[in-house]
Subunit: 261 residues, 2 copies
DNA sequence: CGATGACTTGACTGAGTTCAAAAGCTGTGG
DNA sequence: CCACAGCTTTTGAACTCAGTCAAGTCATCG
């Protein structure tokens, strides 16, 4: 954990509440994830009802959103930052089984405790709401439930694709795949539309250890793969977590594996 | 594929249709998966509406339920048999990313094509229905949608737990885990209630190759792990796919890994 | 500046893969 | 009933990729 796990959440002044519907709407209209977040798929009425139970919070890196011993009491939509979903076992082995980016939904409705744990990988800005209030809202607004169902089905596909990656790809392919995936998500691109640029830079949201936990490898192996890609001029690492993609096309090829016909 | 992939589906006489609501109800009441299938969580009205669009079919092992080039056109609830969900890649590598057992829902609503492929691992008996009819039904009956959402959330948890297994467990742990999982599911037990018996027998629904595809290993490795467990008297293999659990407690321990304090 | 934590590099090991061959089943046809 | 073909499964032996252990380097911060 990179920061002390204090639970001071730095909550923002609530932008909404009883009778503050109008204010809320306006805030939502300005929201940076407006176009892609679940809220965008809702009717105006449902969106308003959701806005009424929501409040914006800041959450610092390392804090647990749900899981472990705690009850799953709240859900959230990410505005800024990255959340990691971890499958942790008592013997110390753990595996990151999902990453959630801005505009993604975080939470586990309908259960008291989850086998998974969600932790802020970076400092976060979220729209959060109580789990039970959210469940009630889903009951009253089927369009909200449908939106969450669609997201969950997408998450399931993503989890399975990821599973393939871990089970069948080589170390190099895994690292390349993850880098591309993170680049895509952090730029808010849709899954199908891949960036055309040959060069771009970003700051990785994860440490080497976390990358290894994503890929089912050890951090030393990740480090070696970074070194190899760097030596071939495909990527360059800045200081801290800076990363520059020097040859996106080649990296994409590496992510697929050598295509022998 | 163990059987020719002919598409003669051996469809049963439809037990329902326009105006046959009563007959349908009675058939459903006799259904072997009645207590655990999604239908059981529905209101009488929704269950009836679902029964009206459903028909029973037999599907032979090796047939594709959805995926690959085909559009995702139908969904089903499994009455008898096992379906494998496969992530297949052009270079020949493929990974089984999910198994569905009796009373499970199979399908991928809301998309035209899925990155995953669902294939009958054994001969099947299912209640099947058109995907679009099912989507319409979900719109009209929020309780159906909620039931599917809950199942999907459970599937997501299961997929993530499985991912942990592939990424972090040793070959022995993986084989033991899969055997226990299959035993549990094939006996229709709930996830929490584990069998108390120390001995039991069953016929595995998967070949060695398929087991390897589940676990992210090669079939030779699976075979060696079977041999090792057999040599220690923990399991015994009958001819064909017969399997006997001789020491469930020990197998459970092997599935967790050596617990060093 | 020295301490702390994150990352890199090196040398060695080993679990699982790969390639190859043998052994078991199942079904077919003479 | 046996012989044979076409499978799946088992077993053996050599190899390799990633893991393990152990130093060493680099950044950041009090």
């Amino acid at each position: 954990m990179r920061r002390p796990n204090n639970f001071a959440t730095g909550r923002c002044p609530r932008v909404n509440g009883a009778g503050a519907g109008m204010t809320t709407r306006i805030k939502c209209l300005q929201c940076v994830v407006r176009r892609t977040a679940p809220c965008s798929a809702l009717t105006a009425e449902t969106a308003n009802a959701l806005a009424r139970i929501v409040h914006r919070r800041r959450i610092s890196a390392g804090q647990i959103l749900y899981g472990g011993a705690q009850r799953v009491t709240s859900c959230a939509i990410i505005i800024q930052g990255v959340v990691k979903v971890v499958s942790a076992h008592p013997d110390g082995r753990n595996q990151i089984v999902g990453l959630q980016f801005p505009s993604d939904f975080v939470g586990r409705p309908y259960v008291e405790t989850s086998p998974m744990m969600a932790e802020a990988a970076t400092d976060l800005e979220v729209c959060s709401f109580s789990g039970s209030a959210f469940e009630n809202l889903m009951e009253q607004h089927p369009d909200l439930e449908r939106t969450i169902l669609r997201r969950t089905l997408d998450d399931l596909d993503a989890a399975r694709e990821w599973m393939f990656m871990i089970a069948r790809k080589t170390a190099e392919e895994r690292v390349a795949s993850l880098l591309l995936m993170m680049a895509r998500k952090m730029r808010g691109e849709r899954d199908d539309a891949t960036s055309q640029d040959q060069e771009m830079e970003l700051d990785l949201p994860l440490s080497r250890t976390e990358i290894a936990e994503c890929l089912g490898m050890r951090l030393e192996t990740v480090s070696r793969q970074f070194a190899a890609l760097k030596a071939q001029g495909i990527i360059a690492t800045g200081r801290r977590r800076g990363l520059k993609f020097c040859d996106l096309a080649e990296l994409t090829r590496r992510a697929q594996g050598a295509v022998e016909v």
